[in-house]
């Protein structure tokens, strides 16, 4: 008989806990959590990584990720991350934020942490809505998109246009890496994993501020099936928020 050897080609990442996730079916958060855990495993940094969770759906990140995690007041996530990193400069510190947390209430903290070039990784989940509170309009809600607080669709005249955060941060001198990716299918997921890997590798090497925006499905408040939500991310979000690398190793590669 031939000797057969079992090779594991896929397993649950060690940095991901065993709890079933509370996220809705098709939600991008659970995917990003898994990718984050894989990246922590691959770089072998779980034991010296400290995360900061936002106010929003991902506030419970500490139930799932097996690294040290702090909550933060709504929007103050980069400020808390700044304090942690300054106190412990040799640790890997990331903030994980949604569009309300990062681009509305926490815009000042977002811009100034980037402008100081704090040595942190910022992960920005852009799903265009406030998921936890009922799908209200976010700064990134698309024009015409309906939410409980723009029931007839977002209009420029009274609500402004969606904010493109990567482009905004790309005007600053200090960021080391700025990239937008999209969870819009398998290639998008793999690209997201790669972007996170780049961001955390830069952290490990102490290179500076890294920012990864992830266009992410929220089927519940897109009011679409998980599958249609991926298409919505690809066709609608991707059209307004172009998926690309903006800055690489401190150099602007796309304006």
């Amino acid at each position: 008989m031939n000797k057969r050897k079992t090779i594991t080609i896929y397993s649950r990442p060690k940095s991901l806990g065993g709890l079933p996730m509370h996220y809705c079916a098709g939600c991008g958060h659970s995917l990003v959590h898994k990718l984050l855990a894989e990246v922590m495993d691959e770089l072998d940094i779980r034991g010296r990584t400290i995360g900061v969770a936002p106010v929003g759906c991902a506030v419970f990140a500490y139930f799932y990720l097996k690294c040290d995690i702090s909550e933060a007041a709504h929007g103050r996530t980069p400020a808390v991350a700044t304090g942690i990193k300054r106190a412990l400069p040799d640790r890997i510190v990331f903030s994980y934020q949604g569009d309300g947390d990062l681009a509305a209430i926490g815009m000042a903290e977002t811009i100034h942490a980037a402008n100081r070039g704090e040595n942190i990784a910022v992960i920005f989940i852009n799903n265009t809505v406030y998921g936890m509170t009922g799908g209200q309009m976010a700064p990134t809600t698309l024009l015409g998109q309906q939410t409980p607080t723009c029931p007839t669709g977002r209009k420029t005249a009274t609500m402004g246009a969606p904010i493109r955060i990567c482009e905004l941060l790309n005007t600053l001198d200090r960021p080391f890496h700025i990239e937008r990716v999209a969870l819009d299918g398998v290639p998008g997921i793999l690209k997201t994993r790669k972007a996170l890997l780049t961001a955390f590798k830069a952290q490990k090497e102490g290179k500076g501020y890294t920012f990864v925006e992830i266009l992410s499905p929220c089927p519940t408040y897109f009011r679409r099936s998980p599958n249609d939500s991926l298409q919505f991310v690809k066709n609608e979000l991707g059209k307004y928020f172009p998926v690309r690398l903006f800055r690489k190793e401190g150099v602007v590669v796309h304006d």
């Binding site: 040290d68 909550e71 933060a72 808390v80 700044t82 304090g83 106190a87 640790r91 000042a108």
Partner: protein, 352 residues
Amino acid sequence: MMGNEAVAEGAIRAGCRFYAGYPITPQNELTAYLAKNLPERGGSFIQAESELAAINMVFGASAAGARAMTSSSSPGISLKQEGISYLAASQLPAVIVNVQRGGPGLGSIDPSQADYFQATKGGGHGDYRIIVLAPMSVQEMHDFTFKSFSLAEKYRVPVMILADGRLGQMMEPIFLQQGPPPRSPEKKWTLTGAKGRKPRCIRSLLVKEGELEKHNYVLQECYRKIERNETRFAEFHTSDCDVLVAAWGTGARIARGAVLAARARGIKAGLFRPITVWPFPRARLAALASKARTVLVVEMNCGQMLEDVQISVAGARPISFSGWPGGRIPGETEILGEIIRAASKVKCSQSR
């Protein structure tokens, strides 16, 4: 040394290794002193983009185990209240300095004691307390700041230094704290990376049934312990006084002179001064008041500590109040006038 600088130097000597602040008068010398001296002496200084960011940076540094401080003046302290509530909820030690100015709103940049309620009755949302120390001299600005870091760590609570613009701006000779910083208790809660142990989390969102209730009882138990162990006050000529003056901070410093002046005129006045305005020294005040004929509360506000005095004295003696709300510092003779008036009222009522 200037009061603001004495606070900053006290913090460095106490082992403060992280400071984040935002410009506001009359505390700017404190920030400038730390900008210059903290990095040179092994700490991290950040001028934050706002008071909100500053207090939350302190939150992060404290979560990571560093002795951390922020400072501001009244309007800025209002902005920090959210962060203070989160610090209290998450049981994180931190030191917050309020160099009070006149309010409400932008108020003025003159000294005031109008943030007593905010400092001692909660300030932010939720059921919590913080230790509030009220200095009355530059020496105490220095010493109380030095002490506050170990107090904060001992109980895992925020500690506030409740000063005012006069204390921040005035200069006095002082003795600097000597020796190494006080040792920290073992911190089994800090976020340092989960290597070799279970992951930790710092949080204040407790949504499981009964979880928050339990947490609140834990906090309350800690506050009762602080009340038992850390209530501080000072007394001046209280053993035989007819008129017991109750005042704190700068108000107490001026009242002390007025008490002496009253005694020179044959009025037996004494001064009771809470050093911790929370926990408030109720029992001692009640005991002293019962021996006096009347109580006079003096504050640079419209009557805030007055309410704690009323609760403590519980109607046992008449209480009068004399306040200066507009950012003006009362003179000794003005307080002396109030003492004479208070004394005459009791005599009147007795002669009828």
